[in-house]
């Protein structure tokens, strides 16, 4: 998933502000926070281990039992409750649609021993589509990708993942475009939707799954629904923005010619916003792919399944190949949609291929694709991928690579893990999680109050109260520790690399494509290499979170620092500032808005990953959620954990925003 938020303009110094005083205020605030922490440690020394509200493995609180009872009553009312009947109906429709598509391309359609259309036909059609919407390079990429899916032995899983992704993207367009038009036209709808979409994006993806499972059952229907929910916001946001940004003077000029509402929409607004809309589709596709992978947790079909089952067994080698195929698919989808958005413009300008040649090639391609489909229905070799030539080679190769990787970098990684664990993670966790709940809670509220004023304190109080109520206090504190440590690491990386990128365009040139690529890869895949290095520990989740969050944060910082006006920099240089002074006194303070945004995004990404990491040894809330999926009697605990994650996310987000606002 890529960040869609643009960096805010660099903060402007207020004309009348007295900088000295502001600095004093900042210092005194830091001192206050340190004071709170000192008192906290002092009290902790006498009270540690008391009232930590630790729950042992299978222990449940009444709140969790209530949640479990709620779920049971929902399931029991399946035949009478119209809402559940509706969601089950919708779910069944999705299952039927996915099942029909699967029988077309990925699983045997009884009584046929093979799908209706074999690999040859599917590959030919996909390659043709690649050429039709983009160009021959994309067609080659598509061809190579599809051949790899077959050759490595993951044909049907890859097809399933594509099906879920495409169904979700198709539905996103059908549902999202009217909403995009609506928010472009109605200010009030825009406000409502922006808030709703903000909330949806604050929530870690994983949290959607539990309630959706309740209303749609596990399997393809939940996979489609949660993918749809996750993929919809970028399209609505970006397409809505695109439609709204259509030049007012053009709209007025064409209105003055007497166009109807429909003519205005289809002849002026949509064509002029076309490029932005395709960018929205690109973002939506990438989001859908990443969520469709995660949906393997609820038995969603696709390539996520082999990755997940290998990860659960700590068989990193087994996860490498399907993981790489997911990356390949992400690159293919990203390149294809991006090229499609650029192509329209080129062709319209007459820079595309000669239209007559293009038409002939298209016709020929169509015929070839049709022949391939026909052949793939007749001959077994074209129906089922002939063997899996690369599967075993790849498996042994990946095992060897993982072993080499672990041997080579394991030492360094272990050292890093130890340093962070003993230097930062363990002390923080001891303080947060081993304090009595009332101590940790009041300390957190006090720190929020100092950093962000009343608003932050109220947000912290409400969210912490919620956490206390849900009964997973101890686990929440552990997850909070991991999130804070990972965010700190993200920000260190973002500041160093971001400033470096902003100051040296050669560095930017090298790093930016890597970061872009990092953002297109579904986060799930990050777990694989990290697991190889750190084994199933909480550090795995932290590092995976850092890797997942870093690209967006680095880019935000780089763009923010680069956005600082050249004039101001020149003025500072003319006074003889050193490079260090220039960075710390001019560039970073002026890019403060971007830094805050980067930290905020970093927090939410890291939190999302800390949860996914629950299944690879991170424990705490993430583990509770996973447990809720796998054991029906633990559903209540899983739901409580999911809600706790949401509360943590909201608290961190609100306190962060309030703190940023407060310093102005």
């Amino acid at each position: 998933m890529a960040a869609t938020t643009a960096p805010p303009a660099p903060a402007r110094a207020e004309p009348g502000a007295a900088p000295q005083e502001a600095e004093d205020r900042g210092t005194s605030r830091l001192l206050l926070v340190l004071g709170v922490v000192a008192v906290w440690i002092l009290v902790w020394a006498f009270t540690k281990g008391q009232d930590t509200l630790t729950l042992s493995g299978r222990e449940r609180t009444p709140v969790m039992d209530d949640l479990g009872a709620f779920r049971d009553s929902v399931l029991a009312s399946r035949d009478s409750n119209p809402l559940i009947q509706l969601t089950y109906g919708v779910g069944e429709a999705f299952v039927a649609a996915i099942d029909w598509l699967q029988r077309m391309v990925s699983i045997p359609d009884f009584p046929r021993p093979v799908p209706q259309i074999g690999w040859l036909g599917v590959t030919a059609v996909a390659t043709f589509v690649g050429y039709a919407i983009a160009n021959w390079r994309i067609a080659l990429l598509v061809l190579a990708s599809f051949l790899s899916f077959g050759a490595f032995g993951y044909w049907s899983e890859a097809m399933d993942l594509l099906l879920v992704t495409f169904v979700a993207v198709g539905l996103s367009v059908v549902i999202g475009m009217p909403l995009a038009v609506l928010i472009a036209y109605r200010r009030r709808a825009e406000t409502v939707f922006t808030n709703l979409l903000d909330l949806m994006q604050t929530m870690p993806t994983f949290v959607y799954l539990l309630p959706i499972v309740l209303f749609f059952g596990i399997g393809a229907s939940t996979a489609v629904v949660c993918t749809l929910i996750y993929a919809l916001p970028p399209l609505i946001r970006i397409a809505g923005h695109g439609i709204k940004s259509v030049s007012a003077s053009t709209l007025e000029a064409t209105d003055s010619a007497g166009q109807t509402f429909w003519q205005r929409l289809t002849k002026v607004q949509l064509p002029m916003a076309r490029k932005t809309i395709v960018v929205g589709v690109n973002q939506t596709t990438m989001a859908a792919l990443s969520m469709a992978t995660i949906a393997s947790f609820v038995d969603g079909p696709g390539l996520g399944k082999p990755v997940l089952s290998a990860l659960v067994k700590s068989d990193v080698g087994g996860a490498v190949v399907p993981g790489l195929l997911i990356v390949l698919m992400a690159v293919m989808l990203d390149r294809a949609t991006t090229a499609a958005s650029e192509r329209g413009e080129l062709v319209a300008r007459g820079h595309g291929p000669d239209p007559r040649v293009h038409r002939v090639v298209l016709g020929a391609g169509l015929v070839l694709a049709a022949v391939a489909v026909y052949v793939s229905r007749l001959y077994p070799w074209a129906a089922e991928f002939p063997g899996t030539p690369l599967r075993d080679t790849a498996a042994s190769w990946s095992d060897a690579t993982v072993a080499w990787f672990t041997d080579t970098f394991g030492g360094v990684a272990g050292g890093l893990a130890d340093a962070v664990s003993y230097g930062l993670l363990n002390p923080m966790q001891a303080l947060l999680a081993e304090s009595p709940w009332w101590l940790a809670g009041s300390a957190l509220v006090a720190i929020s109050a100092v950093a962000g004023g009343v608003r932050a304190a109220v947000a912290a109080l409400v969210c912490l109260g919620g956490l206390r109520f849900l009964g997973l206090w101890h686990d929440s504190m552990i997850t909070l520790t991991m999130t804070l440590v990972a965010t700190l690491m993200v920000m260190v990386l973002a500041l160093v690399l971001g400033v470096w990128m902003a100051r040296r365009s050669s560095v930017d040139l090298v790093l930016r494509p890597l970061l872009d690529m990092g953002q297109t890869i579904p986060p799930f895949v990050y777990l694989i290499p990290v697991l190889a290095l750190f084994g199933p520990t909480r550090f795995t989740a932290i590092v995976a979170g850092v890797i997942y969050a870093a690209p967006a944060a680095i880019k935000l910082v780089a763009d923010g620092v680069k956005g600082v006006s050249q004039g101001t920099l020149e003025a500072s240089r003319s006074t003889g500032a050193t490079t260090w002074q220039e960075i710390t006194k001019v560039q970073l303070p002026m890019a403060k808005g971007s830094l805050v945004l980067a930290a905020n995004q970093g927090l939410l990404y890291v939190l999302a990953m800390a949860v996914i990491g629950g299944m690879v040894g991170a424990g705490a809330l993430g583990y509770d959620v996973v447990l809720g999926f796998s054991r029906s009697e633990e559903w209540g605990k899983g739901a409580a954990a999911g809600l706790s994650i949401v509360l943590l996310g909201i608290m961190l987000d609100r306190v962060m925003r309030a703190a940023a606002h407060h310093t102005h």
Binding site: S249, S256, A348
Partner: protein, 362 residues
């Protein structure tokens, strides 16, 4: 000069009698922006100045009780500084901005009472507009931009392209049909805007500061283009500008606006020769008067002893054009009206007073 002022010219009724015959007829038009703007009308608040009203009600007056008529085939210029309400006024004519009250008739149709579909019909067939920032469709070639108005009327592709090609030729864009707007210079883009407005063959053309965004030289070319098109096509035009030179050059009559109100309506020589107040006077003080004023404004009444040898000139001759012949002659110029009666005398002094005063002021 003031002694030559003709007191019988009342600017507001100078042109046409019956509103039904007019190309455009505007009566008591108001536009007030802001919350519950319609509540302001008819109360004493409406008489407040802009600033006071804003302070009291939060509403801003865009157009304040404006009335005027435009004769068919006339070029009517609305002039004012930015914020004077002129752009709001022209948008109220086709209800791109909904007027708060008042009536607008175009070709005798009541625009202000028109239904949605009648209004669309009016915009499609009777009144077209040219905009300051062109408002072209960037994803369409020139020819399809020009044909846009015809397209939304439902004219078949072949027919509308043929018509658009004609208009493209008319505005001098031959050869650029297949270009995209961003491949053209500003002046050429505005020619596309002009062509688009002409393609539907409307009876009324509205121009909203069409040349303000252009370089001075290109602006002059485009002004001449408008004059040429007006001669060739004879359409009624309402032209908005903040440039007095442009107003004097193009306008048959000029309406001067300030803070949403009409300050003066008159022909170019009336505006320069008899400014309604200090505001207009200040405005027109830089204008080369000999280029605008006619002999009517500098002549004196004939006296019994005047020489009858001098050249004879019609009273609407511009001073600058009359100057050479007048100064070359030993005798003063005799100014005649349409019927050929001598109505005044212009001697060298009168001519020199206009020309020399101009030299001094520069």
């Amino acid at each position: 000069m003031s002694q030559t002022l003709d007191p019988t010219v009342d600017p507001s009724t100078a042109a046409v009698g019956d509103a039904r015959d007019a190309g455009v007829s505007v009566r008591n038009l108001w536009k007030i922006f802001g919350p519950r703007a319609d509540k302001v009308l008819g109360t004493p608040d409406a008489e407040l100045s802009r600033k006071e009203l804003k302070a009291k009600t939060g509403c801003v007056v865009g157009v304040k009780d404006v009335s005027f008529d435009v004769a068919p085939g006339e070029v009517f210029v609305v002039m004012g500084l930015s914020g004077s309400g002129k752009s709001t006024l022209v948008r109220c004519l086709t209800r791109l901005i909904e007027p708060t009250s008042g009536t607008v008739l175009i070709d005798g149709r009541d625009v202000t009472a028109a239904s949605e579909s009648e209004l669309r019909d009016l915009r499609r067939n009777h009144a077209s507009m040219v905009f300051q920032h062109f408002g072209l469709l960037p994803h369409r070639q020139v020819i399809d931009n020009v044909a846009y108005g015809l397209e939304i009327r439902g004219v078949p592709k072949r027919e509308r392209r043929a018509k658009a090609a004609e208009v493209v030729d008319l505005v001098g864009l031959t050869g650029y049909e297949k270009s995209y707007p961003d491949q053209l210079s500003g002046g050429m883009q505005q020619r596309v805007g002009l062509a688009r407005a002409l393609a539907g063959d409307p009876s009324l053309l509205l121009f909203d500061e069409p040349f303000s965004a252009l370089d001075p030289l290109i602006r002059r070319d485009m002004q001449n283009e408008v004059i040429r098109l007006h001669h060739e096509l004879g359409k009624t035009m309402v032209f908005i500008t903040h440039d007095l030179q442009e107003a004097l050059k193009l306008g048959d009559r000029i309406l001067i606006m300030r803070d949403g109100e009409v300050v003066q309506i008159g022909t170019p020589d009336e505006v320069v020769g008899a400014p309604a107040d200090d505001y207009v006077k200040d405005f027109t003080s830089e204008v080369p008067r000999s280029h605008v004023l006619t002999l009517k404004w500098v002549m004196r009444d004939p006296r019994p002893g005047d020489s009858t040898e001098g050249p004879v000139m019609p009273c609407d001759t511009v001073v600058r054009k009359a100057a050479q012949a007048a100064l070359a002659s030993e005798h003063p110029v005799r100014v005649v009206d349409d019927a050929g009666n001598v109505i005044g005398i212009v001697d060298d002094d009168a001519i020199l007073r206009v020309v020399v005063a101009e030299e001094e002021s520069h």
